[in-house]
Symmetry: C2
C-alpha cells in the first residue's frame, strides 16, 4: 500500500501527479480537511466548499468583471464605514487567514468569529489561527459573544457588542441566508463574498462579490489600499453607482453564456 | 446552549424549523456526516456532495428529460450486458444502499466496492451496509480486489476479478475522471450517474445520467423492470438511438436557459 495512504487514509498529497488537471483544487481540499481535524471547520464546511467549487468552475475559476465591480464598491463601503466588522467562520479561517487580518488592518475593521456551529473549542482554534497570523484583537470568543441577533435559530445569533452588534458594515463569506437577512433587517450594510449568485445571502446582501474567497480577499485588500487616497465624495460616488441586482444578473448571464458555449464544443 | 448542539456539535436536526426552505437538503447532509463518522465516507466525499448539491440546484432538483433518456439507455444496456457490475463508493452506500441492491437484483449485476481512499475498515463498513440491506454478494473487499486497472495512481485501481475486472458494463456514480477513462480504455461500457455534465467522467462515459443519485437509482430500477419484457432487438434499438454528446449538450442548454430566466427575475 502507498505510504501516504497508510498514514492518513484520506491524504493523496504525495500521490497526485504534478501535471494532474485538478491538482490545485485537490490540495485545497486537503487543507480544508486538515482544518476539520484541527476543529477549525465542521464537516458541513466541507460540503459548503464543494458547492463553491462547482460555482467557481462555472465562472471559469477567475475573478470576473462582475466581481471586480463589487470589490470596488465593497472597498469604498469599508472605507466609508464607522464601525466595520469582518465576520470570520471556519472556511474563511482555513483558507484566507492572512488576507482577513490584512483586510482588517487596512480598513480599520474588527475581526469577529461567528459560527453557525458554535463551540468553545472551535472558537479558540480559529482565534489561535488569527492571533498567530498577527491579529491584534479577535472578538466573538466565549463570553464576548454576549449580544443576540434577533430571529436566528442557530448559535450564529450570538455576537460581540464591540463588533457585529454595533457594526454599520459587516463583511461575511460563505454565510447562511437566515443570518444575512437578519443583519440586513438590523439596518446594517452587508458585504458578502459568495460564489453562488443564486443564494439567499447573495440576493439579500448590499454588495455581493461573486468570486472564490481565495481570490477575492487579497484583491479586496489591494483595492482598499488603492482607494484610500480618494475623497469621501469620490468613495460615495462609487457606492452610489453600484447596483447589486445588476451585478448578480451579469454573473448569471456570464455563466449561462459559458455553458451555451461549452454545449457547442462537446 | 441548545441540547442538540451539546450532544453533537454539528447536528442541527432538532433545530431546523419544519418549514425551512432547505430542510431536506440539510437532513441529507447530516446523513452523510453520520456516514463519515461510521467510516463509510471519507471527508472528500462531503466535498463531492457539495458540488453535487450545486448542480442539482442548477437542474431544478428534478429528473429532467435528458436524464430520463439516459436512464432508458442505461436500463437497456444493463439488460443486454453479460457481466454487468455496479461499482459502489462511500457516497453511494451512504445515500442509496437499498436502491443499488435492488438494481443489482433486477439487472443481474454484481455489486463491487471500489474506493479512491481504500482501507479495510471502510470496505468492511460499506459491505456491512450492503449485506444488512439484503445484498447476497459484495465483491471488492480485502483480498478479493486482487486485479489491477492500468494507469491509475489511486487505490481505485484495485478491482475484483469476478466483478469490475471482467465486466462488460460498469455502472458508477460520483466517479473521478481518471478511473472512468481507464475503464473505457479497457473496452468497457460505462454508465455514469454524474450530476455534473462538465466532469471528465460525464464526457468520457458511454451513457451519462445527469441527475441526483437519490432520484436516478430508484428511477433506473423501475426502468429495468419495465424494459425486461422487451426483445433483444428492441433494447438494441434504444441503445443505438442514444447519443451521449447530444444528452450532455441538452443538459448544459437546460441549465443555461434556466440561469438566463433567473437573471431576468432578480
Amino acid at each position: 500500500m502507498d505510504k501516504a495512504q497508510d498514514s492518513k487514509p484520506w491524504s493523496i498529497r504525495d500521490l497526485i501527479p504534478e501535471n494532474h488537471p485538478r491538482r490545485e483544487s485537490l490540495l485545497i481540499r486537503e487543507k480544508l480537511i486538515e482544518a476539520m481535524e484541527k476543529s477549525i471547520l465542521v464537516p458541513q464546511g466541507l460540503i459548503a466548499h464543494g458547492r463553491g467549487e462547482c460555482f467557481d468552475y462555472l465562472i471559469g475559476e477567475k475573478t470576473q468583471d462582475f466581481a471586480e465591480k463589487a470589490i470596488e464598491a465593497a472597498a469604498a463601503t469599508l472605507l466609508l464605514a464607522k464601525t466595520p466588522t469582518i465576520s470570520v467562520n471556519g472556511n474563511m479561517a482555513a483558507l484566507v487567514p492572512e488576507g482577513l487580518i490584512r483586510l482588517a488592518e487596512e480598513s480599520n475593521a474588527k475581526l469577529e468569529i461567528n459560527l453557525f456551529y458554535r463551540d468553545e473549542r472551535r472558537e479558540k482554534a480559529i482565534a489561535e489561527v488569527l492571533y498567530k497570523g498577527g491579529a491584534k484583537e479577535v472578538l466573538g470568543v466565549g463570553e464576548d459573544a454576549s449580544e443576540v441577533i434577533p430571529e436566528l435559530f442557530s448559535q450564529r445569533r450570538r455576537v460581540s457588542p464591540k463588533g457585529i452588534y454595533k457594526a454599520d458594515v459587516v463583511l461575511l463569506g460563505l454565510e447562511d441566508g437566515d443570518r444575512t437577512e437578519a443583519l440586513v433587517k438590523m439596518g446594517k450594510k452587508v458585504i458578502a463574498i459568495d460564489i453562488n449568485p443564486l443564494s439567499r445571502t447573495s440576493r439579500t446582501a448590499t454588495i455581493t462579490i461573486v468570486d472564490n474567497i481565495i481570490r477575492a480577499v487579497p484583491r479586496l485588500v489591494e483595492k482598499v489600499k488603492e482607494l484610500k487616497s480618494k475623497s469621501k465624495e469620490e468613495l460615495e460616488q462609487i457606492v452610489f453607482n453600484y447596483d447589486n441586482k445588476t451585478i448578480l444578473a451579469e454573473s448569471l448571464k456570464f455563466i449561462a453564456n459559458r455553458l451555451t458555449q461549452l454545449s457547442l464544443s462537446l
